[in-house]
Symmetry: C3
Subunit: 478 residues, 3 copies
C-alpha cells in the first residue's frame, strides 16, 4: 500500500468498527455478534452493472476519477445539485487526461461535506480506507495526495479487476446485458482456465419491448439479425426473443430484468397482439397502442420465464432523463432520473393469475416508491410462492431506507421471501462496502427482534446467515 503523503491540517479518516449497528447499548453487542457471523462470507451479487469485459480483459483501471466518479451517477448527481457541471466530472466524454481526472477528483474532495449523511459518502469512505488505505479525510487540501495514493494503487497488479474480484470474495457476479450482446466476454471467462470466478449475464430486453420508441424498428431488425429469425410478424418477434433468452441461458444467465414506466401485464388476444405488432412495424402505432403492446409483451416475458426459468426482476417507475438539456448533452444514466409512483397489485394480476403458482416461475419486485413496501410488495410476496421482495434499490439503497424496508416487509412476508441484498451498482469497488452495509443493518434489525422478545438468539443467527447465503440463491435459483 502506498501511504498518503502527510498533509499537516488533514483530519483522519477511519472506519468505525461498530458503524451502522444500533446505538442502543442493549442492542449493539448482539448486533455485533450477529454481524461477525456473516462479515466475511462470500458476496453473491445477482444483479448489477459491472461490465464483464473488465474481468475478461483484466485491464488495469486508468485513474481514480474514471473508477470512482465519472461512471457513478450517485456521486455526480449531488455535485451537480451543488452547481458542479457534469462536464467537469468527465461525464459524457471519452477517456480523461490526467489533469482533467485530477481536477475532477479535487472537485469531489472539495465537496466532501455535501455528502454528509448520504450512503455515497459512506461507500466512498469505505473504499478509500478499506481498499486503498487512505487515512486522511478528503478535502481541497488532501485531494492531490489521495489521488496519488489511489492512482499508485491502481497501477499495481493487486488492484486489477481480477485481483479485486478475489479480494472482495465475490462468489457470483451478474452483469446486465443487451439481448443482442454476443456475450463474448462471458464466454471468454468461461473458456479461460485461469479464471474460476462466476460471472453471469442478465437478459435486459427493455428497448425491444418499448415498441413506440424512436428507433424500435431498427432495434427489432437487429434482434432478428442476431437471432437469425424473421420479425415480420408477432410470432417471429417472440421467437427471436426466445432465441436470445436461450443464448443467455446457455451462457449462464439466471434472470431477465425489466424496467418500464409501469409493470402492467394486461394480456392481449393473439389477434390484437398481431395487429398492434404489425402497426409497430409500420410505424403507425399510437402511443396508447404502444403501451398496450408493451404491457402484453411483459406478460409474454413472464410466460417465457415460466418456461425457461429465467427469474423475472422488475425495476419499474422511473422518470428517466428528467432534465431535457442534460439528456441532450450528456445522454442517459447521468443522475437525472427521478422515481415516480409504482403500482404492482392490479398491474401484475394477469401475469400472477397465470403463472403465480407455477413451479418454474420466479419474480423479484424492486421499487423506489417506499409506499409499496408494506402495502403491495410484502403482501404479494407473502402469498405467491413465486414472488420475492427485492432489496431496497437505488435511492433506497441506504441505511435508513433499508431499516424502513425490513420494518415494513418482514411483518407480512417474513425473511424467507426477501431476495437478500442486491447491489445493482456500476461502482465495482463499492460492492464490498454495500454488502457489508446490508449485513450490518440486517444484524441490527434482527437484534432488535431479539430485544423485542420476538426471536430467540439461535434463530437470529440463522436469519442473518440465511440472508447472505440462502436467500439470494433461492430467489435467483443460483
Amino acid at each position: 500500500m502506498v501511504p498518503a503523503p502527510t498533509v499537516p491540517t488533514a483530519r483522519p479518516l477511519a472506519a468505525d468498527p461498530d458503524r451502522l449497528f444500533p446505538a442502543d447499548p442493549s442492542l449493539r453487542p448482539l448486533a455485533r455478534q450477529l454481524y461477525e457471523r456473516v462479515a466475511d462470507l462470500p458476496i453473491i451479487s445477482p444483479h448489477g452493472h459491472v461490465p464483464a469485459s473488465w474481468l475478461a480483459e483484466d485491464t488495469p483501471f486508468t485513474d481514480p476519477t474514471s473508477l470512482l466518479i465519472t461512471p457513478d451517477h450517485y456521486v455526480t448527481r449531488l455535485l451537480h445539485a451543488h452547481g458542479v457541471g457534469l462536464d467537469a466530472l468527465g461525464v459524457g466524454q471519452g477517456p480523461l487526461s490526467e489533469p482533467d481526472a485530477r481536477a475532477a477528483f479535487r472537485i469531489l474532495c472539495g465537496h466532501w461535506s455535501v455528502y454528509r449523511g448520504t450512503p455515497v459518502r459512506y461507500w466512498l469512505q469505505a473504499q478509500l480506507t478499506g481498499i486503498f488505505g487512505v487515512d486522511v479525510r478528503p478535502s481541497a487540501e488532501t485531494a492531490d495526495a489521495i489521488y496519488d495514493t489511489v492512482a499508485a494503487a491502481l497501477a499495481t497488479p493487486a488492484f486489477r479487476p481480477r485481483a479485486l474480484f478475489e479480494r472482495f470474495r465475490i462468489a457470483v457476479l451478474a452483469t446486465t446485458d443487451d439481448p443482442c450482446d454476443d456475450l463474448s466476454a462471458h464466454r471468454a471467462l468461461a473458456d479461460d482456465p485461469t479464471w474460476t470466478g462466476r460471472v453471469i449475464p442478465t437478459f435486459r430486453p427493455d428497448r425491444y419491448l418499448e415498441v413506440g420508441a424512436r428507433g424500435w424498428r431498427t432495434d427489432a431488425d437487429l434482434l432478428a439479425e442476431t437471432a437469425g429469425t424473421e420479425v415480420g410478424d408477432y410470432a417471429g418477434f417472440v421467437a427471436a426473443l426466445e432465441a436470445r433468452r436461450a443464448h443467455f441461458r446457455a451462457h449462464g444467465a439466471v434472470s431477465a430484468d425489466h424496467s418500464h414506466a409501469d409493470v402492467r401485464t394486461d394480456r392481449l388476444s393473439p389477434a390484437e397482439a398481431e395487429r398492434l405488432y404489425r402497426l409497430a412495424r409500420s410505424g403507425d402505432l399510437t402511443p396508447d397502442e404502444a403501451v398496450a403492446l408493451r404491457r402484453h409483451l411483459l406478460w409474454e416475458m413472464g410466460r417465457m420465464s415460466s418456461e425457461d426459468g429465467l427469474v423475472m426482476t422488475l425495476h419499474p417507475a422511473v422518470a428517466r432523463n428528467h432534465h431535457r438539456p442534460t439528456f441532450e448533452r450528456f445522454g442517459a444514466d447521468v443522475g437525472a432520473d427521478v422515481p415516480v409512483t409504482a403500482e404492482y397489485v392490479r398491474a401484475l394480476a394477469p401475469l400472477l393469475s397465470d403463472f403465480g403458482t407455477h413451479e418454474n416461475f420466479r419474480m423479484v419486485l424492486f421499487t423506489i416508491d417506499e409506499t409499496t413496501f408494506s402495502r403491495e410488495i410484502a403482501p404479494l410476496a407473502g402469498f405467491y410462492p413465486s414472488v420475492f421482495a427485492g432489496a431496497p434499490w437505488w435511492f433506497l439503497d441506504a441505511p435508513e431506507a433499508i431499516r424502513r424496508y425490513r420494518a415494513a416487509v418482514t411483518e407480512t412476508a417474513g425473511f424467507g421471501k426477501t431476495s437478500g441484498f442486491i447491489d445493482d451498482t456500476r461502482a465495482y469497488c463499492s460492492i464490498p462496502a454495500r454488502h457489508d452495509m446490508a449485513r450490518r443493518l440486517d444484524a441490527g434489525y434482527v437484534a432488535s427482534l431479539v430485544a423485542d422478545g420476538r426471536l430467540e438468539e439461535d434463530e437470529a443467527v440463522e436469519v442473518v446467515e440465511e440472508l447472505v447465503t440462502v436467500n439470494p440463491r433461492r430467489a435467483f435459483r443460483l
Copy 2:
C-alpha cells in the same frame, strides 16, 4: 394442563415478560410500569369475525388445526408463499379427519421458521404458551407432541368457547353478520340466563351495495323477503336496508361495516338513483353505473347512520381474490387479498359535508395503505367530531406498523380521536395476545413521549388506561 411429552432435542418456548417494550434502558422501565396498569383490564372487541354460534352453542373445538390454522388466512398465506398447497391445510374443505388435521399441524410446525419476525408467529407463540401451556418450540420433531397437548386441552371443559371467553376477560365481542342473518345465535345468548357476556352483531351490507355484482339481484330479493318489503323501486330497497338495520339495532348492534374498492360517497339525485336502481334490477347497469350507484348507496348508509346511530366503519381498498385459480378452487378469504391505494379526503367530502358534525354520526376509518395515516386519516379525525382513526388493520396489525401508526397519527389527532385497538380476527384464541400486543406497544409509545419531555408521567398513565377503557367505548358508543 396436559404437559407436552418431552422431546429430547426440543428448544424451549417461553414468552419474554418484557416483549415489545422499547429496548432502550431509559424507556423500558416506564413502559413496563404503564403496561402493568392495563395488562389485566377487560377486552373490548368492537369489530371481529368470531361466529356468535360458537358461544351460543358452546361446542368444544374439534382439533388444533381447525382452531389455529385452517380458518386463519394470516397463517395459511405464508405457508402457501413457501410452497404449501392450501388443500394440505384443510382450506375449502369440510371437517378434517384426525390424520389430516395432524398432518397440517406438522406442516405448520415444520415451517415455524418462515414466521420469524411476523405477528403470526408472535400470536401463535402467545397462544401456545399462554393458553395451552406448550413449552417447546414448534418443529417437525415436536409437532405431534404439541398437537397432542393442544388436542387434550380442547377436550376439556375449560377450553370450550364460553370458558375461554371468561378466561380471556372479554367484556364486549362484536361479530360480523349478513343483513339477512336472523341473528338467532345472538338472540339465544341474550335469552340464556346462564350467559352474562356481551356479544353483539355488526351490520355488514357490502354485497347488497355491490349492485353490479353477479348475484346481486338474488341477494336483493333475499333482502326483500327477509325484511318483508318490496324492492322493486329504490325507496323499497332503502326501506329494506333500514328495516334490517333496525333488526340489528334491536339485537345490540352498534356499528355497520363497509368494505368496497373505494369509499367515495358521491350523491346522486333522487331521480338518477331511481333510474340506476331500476337498471340494476333489470340487469342492464353498466360497470360505471354500478360504481356510481354503489357510491351513492354508501352515502345513503351514512345518512342512515346519522339517524339510527350505527357507527360507520370503513375497511376499503383491497384487491380481493387476486389469484384467480385460488379463488376458483378455494373461494374467498383464503389469503389472496392484497391492499391497494386508498383515498379518503375527496371520497368522503360529500358525506362529511352533510353529516360530519351531526351529533348522532360516527365514523371509524381503517386502512391498509399506510400513506393515509398522516396525510388523510389523522387530519380528518383532527377536525371532524364524528371521525375516528381506526387501529391498524390486517397487514398493519403488527408491532412495527402499530408503532408507525401511533407516530403518524398522534401528532395531528392526539390519542382521543383514535378507536382503541380492534382485533378484527377470526382466530378466537389470538384475541388476548393481540390486545396484549397493542397494550404493550402503546405503553412503549407513551413512554417515549415522556422521555421526549412531551408528556408527564401522570398523563401517561391516563393515556394508556383510556386507550383500553374509554376510546373503544367512545368511538363505538358502547
Copy 3:
C-alpha cells in the same frame, strides 16, 4: 412577570431541558452538546403569516385568546374535533369581549388533555412557560389564573410585538402578502429610524392564477388597477404580475409562494395562452381550460423567478374548506383543510427542463404528503442545483414527522439541499418554540449519524450550525 395565583390542586408546568433529544443514553449527551451550539442563534424565518402591521404599529395584543387561540387553526381544529363549536372560540368574529375571551380560554385549558402527544401542546406549553412564566398545568381549575397571568403580561411594554421580536432574536421575518397589497406596513418599518429588524414581504399570487374561480375577473381588474396596466390581453396580465413582483422586490421580498391543487407546469403555446386568457376574461372558460391556463401561469411564474430572482416556494395539494357548512359559516383557514396526494416529478418537468439549471432560479418544495419525501423531493433536490427540499410543513411540522423527514431526505439529498426550518405560522409567540424544536430534533438526528459511524463530531457541529445559519440564507437568497 406576574406570578400565577396559587391553585391548590394544580400540577406544575415546566419544560424539560432535554426535551426532544433521543432518549438513548448513548445519543443524548452528544445531542445536547450539538443543540447548545445553536440554541441561542438568531431566528431566520423566511416564510410565515404574521402580519407586518403588528410590528409597524406595535399595538399591544388585546387578550390571551386573540393571541393564542382564535387565529391559530392548529389549536381550534382539535377542539372542534372534540365537539367544541368554532364560534365558542371566537372564530369568524370581530374583537372578543373579555368574558368571551376568558370563556374560550377556559375551554382550551379544560381540554388540555386532547392535545397530548401533539406539537400544539408542545408549543403552547413552551409559550406559557418560556414567555409568560406560567408554572401550573392548564386545566378547568387553573384557566382563570393562567388567563390573568398572560393578560397582565400582555398589558406591559415588554410584551408588545417589537419587544417580543427582539426578545425572540428574530433576524429575518417574512410575511405573506397579496400582490395588490401596497406593503405600507413594510415601508413604514423601513422608514422608521427606531426599527432595526428585517421584515420582508412574500408575493402570494394564488388567487390571480386561479382563472376559473368565482371572482377572478374582479381580482384581475384590481391587479390591473394596482399595477397601473391593462389586463385585456394575456401580455397585459403578465405585465401586471411582473410589475407587482417588482414592487415586492423593491420592498425586500425574496420569494413568491404558490399553493394550488397541483404543481403542474405544462406550458401552452402563446396562441393557446392568449385564447384561454380571453375566455377567462369573458367568463367562458371550462373547468379543464381553467386548470390548463393556471398550470401554464405557474410555469410563467417560474420564468419570472428565473428573471427577477424571487425564490419560488411551492405548497401544494390541500383540499381546502373540506366541510362546506363550516366554510359557509366561518370562511377559510379555520382548520377544515385536509392534505391530498402530491406529484412533483412529472408536474415540474416542463419548468425544470427550462430553468432547473438556471443560475438565477431557486425553488423550495414543501409537502404534506410524506410519501414524496424520499420518492420525489429528495431525488429532485439531489440533482437540480435550483431545487431545495422545504422543511416539514403544517401537519408534518411536528417531532416525529420531522424525524421522518430527515431520515427520508438526507440519504439522497444530504443536508445542504434542505431549506432549514420554516415555521410558516400565524402564531407569533410560537415562533421561538418551533425553531427551538427543529434545532433539538436536528441535533438528535445528527447525533445518530455520529453514533452510526457515518459522521465525525466536528462535522456534526458544522451541520447543525449550518442548518440554522447557512441553509435558509442559501435557499432564500438572504
